[in-house]
C-alpha cells in the first residue's frame, strides 16, 4: 500500500503545516487511548507515523443520509478528527470537492490510475441491487457499477456506517430496492466495516490511523469490524453496569430509577448485544453517550438493528449471544456471584417487563403508551 516515494512523509507535511512535535505527541496520546494501546505507545506511534506516507483515499456515497460524512468531517475544528487529514490524501469525495459533473468523474479516474492497487476506497451507504440497480444512478451508471469499478484497484475498502457495513436502513424490511452491504458485493477484497449510525468520529479516525501506522487491515471481529473498537459490548463497558449487577432498573423514563441513573435494560437498552465504543469514547468531544443521557442504546452498530423489534422492549435473552459468553467467562472469577445475580435479575426483569406489556395490551391505554411499547 506504500504510496510513491516522491510524496512527502507525514512528518514533513506536519513540519510544513507548522504542527510541532509536542502537538503531534498530544494527538498520538489521544489516538493511543482510542486504540486501547498503553499511553507509553504514543511515542512509538508518533515516530512511525512521521516516517509514513499518506495513502490516497477515494470516497463514494450511495444509499445514505450523509450522517457518516458529517461524522467524518465533524466541525469542532481543529480537533483530533481533523488531524486525520494530515494522515490521508482525500483525492475524491463528490460531496466535499469543488468539482462537479464530468470534471469530478475525471478527477476520480485520475486518482485511481495514479494510485492503482494502493488507494483506500471508503464507501458510505448501501448498494441497491433490485431491478438492475436503477435505484441509485450517477453520471449514467448504477451504484453497483461504480463500486465494482472503483473496488478493482483498491488496496482495501472501508465500509463507513451501518448502511455500508450491513445494509442499514435501506436494507430494512421490506427492502424495496434490494439494498446490500458492501462486503457482499466486492468478492476477494479486504473490507473493514466501521458500523454505527453514524460511526463515532474518533473510531473513524482511529481506523484510518491504524491502517496508516501498520500498513495493513487491522484485526477484525466476526462482522469485519476493527476488534479494538468493537471488541466489547456497550453493556460490559457501561458505567451503569453496577446497577444491572445489583438488579436496579429504571422501569419508565420518569420513575425513581431513571432519576437515580439506574440500568436502562428494562426500557429496551440494546447494550448487551451491541458492540461499539460509545461507552468509553462517547460523543461530542466525550461529553456523553445515549445511556449517560438517560436513553437506552438502540444497537445501531449491529446488523439489522432496525428490524429487531421495538427499541423500547427488553432484549429476549435468547439473543444475548456474545454477551452471554462474557457472563459465562465471568463465572470463573470472584465477581461471578454479582454478575450471575445480575443475569438472573436481568432475566427476571424481562419477564416482569413482558408482564407489564401484556397487562397494558389487555387494558385500554392511551396513544402515548401504545407508541412507547411499539
Amino acid at each position: 500500500m506504500a504510496p510513491p516515494e516522491t510524496e512527502p512523509t507525514i512528518g514533513e507535511l506536519l513540519d510544513r503545516n507548522g504542527i510541532s512535535r509536542r502537538s503531534f505527541i498530544k494527538y498520538c496520546t489521544a489516538m493511543a487511548s482510542l486504540l486501547a494501546l498503553p499511553p507509553i505507545a504514543a511515542r512509538a506511534m508518533a515516530a512511525q507515523l512521521r516516517a509514513a506516507r499518506r495513502p490516497s483515499v477515494i470516497y463514494l456515497s450511495f444509499q445514505e443520509c450523509t450522517g457518516c460524512l458529517e461524522s467524518f468531517t465533524r466541525s469542532f475544528a481543529p480537533t483530533i478528527e481533523n488531524m486525520i487529514f494530515n494522515m490521508i490524501s482525500l483525492d475524491y469525495d463528490d460531496t466535499l470537492m469543488a468539482a462537479a459533473g464530468a470534471q469530478a468523474e475525471k478527477a476520480r479516474a485520475q486518482a485511481m490510475e495514479a494510485n492503482y492497487g494502493k488507494y483506500l476506497l471508503v464507501v458510505d451507504g448501501a448498494i441497491p441491487t433490485a431491478d438492475g440497480g436503477v435505484y441509485h444512478c450517477a453520471a449514467g451508471r448504477t451504484g453497483l457499477d461504480i463500486l465494482t469499478d472503483c473496488a478493482k484497484g483498491a488496496a482495501a475498502i472501508v465500509a463507513l456506517g451501518t448502511c455500508a457495513s450491513f445494509g442499514g436502513l435501506p436494507h430494512a424490511d421490506p427492502n424495496p430496492t434490494g439494498a446490500r452491504a458492501i462486503s457482499a458485493l466486492v468478492p476477494g477484497k479486504p473490507v473493514i466495516n466501521v458500523s454505527g449510525c453514524p460511526p463515532i468520529p474518533e473510531v473513524i479516525a482511529g481506523t484510518f490511523l491504524q491502517y496508516v501506522t501498520t500498513g495493513r487491515v487491522p484485526d477484525l471481529d466476526e462482522h469485519l469490524r476493527p476488534a479494538v473498537f468493537y471488541g466489547n459490548s456497550i453493556h460490559d463497558r457501561c458505567y451503569r453496569r453496577p446497577f444491572y449487577d445489583r438488579g436496579e432498573f429504571a422501569k419508565t423514563f420518569d420513575d425513581e430509577g431513571a432519576r437515580n441513573g439506574w440500568c436502562l435494560y428494562e426500557l429496551g437498552c440494546k447494550g448487551p448485544t451491541t458492540y461499539n465504543a460509545c461507552a468509553t469514547v462517547k460523543w461530542n468531544n466525550a461529553v456523553s453517550f445515549p445511556i449517560q443521557s438517560g436513553h437506552p442504546c438502540l444497537g445501531c452498530a449491529e446488523p439489522d438493528f432496525w428490524d429487531r423489534g421495538s427499541f423500547y422492549s427488553p432484549i429476549p435473552t435468547a439473543r444475548w449471544g456474545k454477551a452471554g459468553e462474557v457472563s459465562a467467562a465471568e463465572a470463573g472469577t470472584l465477581a461471578a456471584g454479582a454478575a450471575l445475580t445480575g443475569v438472573a435479575v436481568g432475566v427476571g426483569s424481562v419477564v416482569l417487563a413482558r408482564r407489564r406489556i401484556s397487562r397494558h395490551q389487555r387494558a385500554p391505554h392511551s396513544e402515548s403508551e401504545t407508541h412507547n411499547e411499539e
Binding site: 502537538s23 498503553p38 507509553i40 466525550a286
Partner: protein, 153 residues
C-alpha cells in the same frame, strides 16, 4: 458559544453513599495500579501511565480520583496547538495530565508516572535543529558586526 464545553453542565454527585460506592468501585483498582507503577519507576526507572478516558468511569469518578490524589507543588502549562496542563499530584511522581485541542476540547486525560513528564523534554531532532539555528544566527550576527563566530580576537 463555539464548543459544547461552553454548556454549563454540572455533575451532581449521587446522593446515597450506597450508590456512590457502586459507581466508584473501579477507583481502588486504579490506585493499586498507580502504586505498582510508582514502585516500578523507583526500581527500574520504567515510566508508566494510566489512560483515564479508556476506563468505564462514572460521571463524578474523575473528580473523586482527583480529590484522593490531591494537588502537588508543580503546575505546568504547554501551548502546542491547544493547551496541555500537567499538574503534580500530592503523590510525588504522579502527574495529572490533560491535553486539549485549539478549541479547548479535551483530547486525553491520563495520570503519568514519571520523574519528569516525557512531553517536556525536547527530542534529539529538536536539539539538532536548535543548535543549527543558533549557529546560523551567530554567523549572521558576526557578519553584521565583523566578528569571528568564535569570539573577538
Amino acid at each position: 458559544m463555539r464548543t459544547l464545553g461552553g454548556i454549563p453542565i454540572h455533575v451532581e454527585p449521587t446522593g446515597s453513599p450506597e450508590t456512590a460506592g457502586a459507581l466508584g468501585a473501579g477507583l481502588g483498582a486504579i490506585l493499586s495500579e498507580l502504586a505498582t507503577l510508582l514502585e516500578a519507576l523507583r526500581r527500574s526507572g520504567a515510566e508508566g501511565a494510566i489512560d483515564l478516558r479508556s476506563l468505564p468511569l462514572g460521571p463524578d469518578d474523575l473528580d473523586r480520583l482527583q480529590r484522593i490524589l490531591g494537588t502537588g507543588e508543580v503546575d505546568i502549562r504547554i501551548e502546542a496547538n491547544g493547551e496541555s496542563r500537567i499538574r503534580e499530584t500530592a503523590v510525588g511522581g504522579l502527574w495529572w495530565t490533560e491535553h486539549r485541542d485549539a478549541a479547548g476540547a479535551l483530547l486525553a486525560v491520563l495520570i503519568e508516572v514519571a520523574r519528569v513528564p516525557n512531553i517536556l523534554s525536547p527530542a534529539d531532532e529538536d536539539l539538532a535543529l536548535g543548535a543549527a539555528r543558533l549557529r546560523a544566527d551567530a554567523a549572521a550576527q558576526c557578519a553584521e558586526f565583523g566578528e569571528s563566530p568564535h569570539g573577538t580576537t
